[in-house]
Symmetry: C2
Subunit: 430 residues, 2 copies
């Protein structure tokens, strides 16, 4: 159905102009169906009323220049002219996510035989994952659209980000998690003091219940459900930042982790917007997607040459990527095909090695998702799919402190000794 | 002895000029004894050869202006003209710590009945504590002084910072920890791949062994032992940043946690340097010190009106502050007396409440040290020692993800329910 519908898009007028009165979402003008191209005014819609396709924010950008961006704050709001948020977004207390470091990774490059490699390190965000970006945009849009409560189903990073963002914004949060989640992961969200509901069941059960509630509670914004079109746009800022931090140009290759697939497609969208607006030169780039083998529906579809992504039951240590039925999977396939990239997957053992390699070479302790990306980078180089001479950016989207269990079995003391100089000398060569 | 010696200081020439040839430590000209004023050339000294007093870096600052600082990178190296580091420090790969957020904390201020409150949030550093600052300076100085290995005894944040910084710099690290440290805390340093030695004994045993090794291994820099004078200077950047981020002015009140006491004295030193250099107006400020009651030797001395600090055996959840014999304790007393501040301590239960209060109001999840500071702020307000109308900065020096055990017993789900809308409605009011 997706493929058929996409032909329709080309024949419809893409830019809707119907805007609900009194809604200031900056340059956003409406919502457009990604499949059939139907247009809707800005509001709490997320599925097309015609074909049930996903809705995308449509824009009318004006007056965005390199200088106007560079004059902005050093967080995602410097790109507010390209996001569906009120023009006054910086005046409301928020966590000010983004503008995380783009780290030049010469040691890792040398270890892998590459010429120029960068790590976009989103562990530097306020709650230490890229989710602060998408939640920041969702919260700003949700307030403008009249929502009173910020909510989500989650098993980790998203729950942290929603609970923290709502606390600082002074609005109520309702976070829903599976009741068998480890106490440690519950603590990191519960500490922010919102409502945290433990639901007996799997994450799918929690997700389903959240959708039911979203249908009933008109003033609750479930960031990844009923305000998802706005939320997803937050990931464009990863693309904007990489381009700006490279000195307003695009890298030649990207390696991006895939959960729902949204992040990868939005980084690509961000790049294309910058080209369209004349903020960077139009240069070819290849987008590579990274999955853990234990949850690799997109990689499997890629390797089989399919257009559709067959759902899987996740079984991997990379839990933040463990979405068995990725909503944007088909769009990921499109992007990787269009740009000449690929989708690859790596085993859990390779993920752990990826985390260790990045930590040992660059002093960056990534969560499992970052391990997936680094391990995939290595695998793509080994298979010759990725060019070691081309400038490459890999994305670390979270912090190792949140997934200690992944490396705990394999790293430990070099030696355990009595407290004497002699014992030290015996154990450690100077 | 300390008191007597400090009279001597006033009668000696304070600025030494003897510099070892070929050593470029920027504006640093030598080392001066804090007690007797004796001068020594720059090198791996840390105790006065005359009186065993601690050595401080002496400087000859030239050409440092607001503009020259503002033109620098957005990390501690923008202040390299005020630090004992090579002028080329930015050209060598490093973690680029610092320039963390100064968060305007209106919600917390409202909760406490204050007029203007800021949180200097050092959890945003690369390994999520202020230790990245001091280790960054120690590493830069140690390389210039010819050391080949970066080492430390530690139980947590410092070990993380040393192992990560050495990994990125491509030099060897040797980190020593007590062998009964929790596996999770070992993982967060071991992952960076240096040598990690678990020593059977207490932290004091580890520390003693480290000093022994430092006396034997000439090319090993123990950051907090034989290159401590340089290391300690890194904390000045907290003061510089607060002043710059306030628009080049000083706040009226500060609340700073006390472990060794070094950080508090260096923030004060940073402020005085800025005044001396004409970078900020000379305005009065009060410095308040914060300790956990279970390790509060400085607070006890303060309350008893003593000049000396009597060592204690630490027993508190605020482990990153648990130094029973704080080297800079007497200097902390001096600073708090001179500025009209105070030193106060809070119970472990108050520490936990401090963590929760900051998280709920500002979305910042602090480690126990941050809880100590916030709880002390509250206590000082209640006792009338701190003025609620005066502009105040509190320091959060670490990240809650590293001390989950502190809050784990007291935060949890609001409700645990079956996966049904009805159960949700019963448990959670909309």
């Amino acid at each position: 159905m997706r493929r058929e519908a996409s032909y329709v898009t080309a024949t419809t007028t893409p830019l809707p102009t119907a805007v609900e009165p009194d809604v200031d979402l900056g340059p956003a003008t409406g919502l457009t169906c990604r499949e059939c191209g139907a247009s809707f005014p800005l509001g709490a819609r997320y599925a097309c009323e015609e074909c049930f396709g996903p809705l995308e924010v449509a824009y009318d950008y004006r007056g965005v220049t390199r200088a106007s961006i560079e004059a902005g704050p050093r967080n995602i709001w410097r790109y507010r002219g390209l996001l569906p948020v009120p023009s006054t977004v910086t005046e409301v207390p928020n966590l000010e996510p983004g503008f995380t470091k783009l780290v030049r990774a010469d040691n890792l490059a040398a270890a892998l035989g590459m010429r120029r490699l960068w790590v976009k390190d989103d562990s530097g965000n306020p709650t230490h994952s890229f989710k602060d970006r998408v939640v920041g945009v969702a919260l700003a849009a949700a307030r403008e659209l009249g929502f009173q409560v910020l909510a989500c189903p989650s098993t980790g990073n998203l729950a942290n980000a929603v609970a923290a963002a709502a606390a600082r914004a002074g609005i109520r949060s309702v976070v829903m998690v599976p009741s068998d989640l480890e106490q440690q992961k519950i603590v990191t969200s519960a500490v922010y003091g919102g409502t945290l509901v433990a639901v007996e069941g799997t994450y799918d059960d929690v997700n389903r219940l959240a959708s039911e509630i979203a249908g009933e509670e008109e003033d609750w914004a479930f960031v990844n459900v009923n305000v998802r079109p706005y939320y997803a746009e937050g990931s464009k800022t990863l693309g904007y930042e990489v381009a700006e931090q490279l000195g307003w140009r695009l890298p030649e290759q990207l390696v991006v982790p895939i959960a729902s697939g949204s992040q990868l497609t939005k980084i690509d969208k961000g790049f294309r917007e910058l080209v369209h607006l004349g903020l960077v030169d139009d240069a070819p780039y290849k987008v590579f997607g990274a999955q853990a083998t234990g949850c690799s529906p997109v990689a499997q579809a890629w390797k089989a040459g399919h257009d559709v992504v067959r759902p899987v039951k996740p079984d991997t240590i990379a839990k933040s990527l463990a979405i068995g039925n990725p909503a944007d999977g088909p769009y990921v396939l499109d992007v990787c095909r269009r740009t000449g990239g690929a989708v690859e997957d790596v085993t859990d053992a390779e993920v752990v090695e990826g985390i260790r390699l990045l930590a040992r070479t660059e002093g960056i302790f990534a969560e499992t998702a970052g391990g997936v990306t680094v391990a995939t980078l290595r695998k793509l180089l080994a298979s010759g799919q990725l060019d070691p001479a081309a400038e490459t950016v890999v994305f670390n989207t979270g912090d190792g402190l949140k997934t200690l269990d992944a490396v705990s079995p394999v790293v430990g003391p070099t030696a355990t000794i009595p407290a004497s100089l002699e014992a030290f000398r015996k154990a450690v060569s100077a």
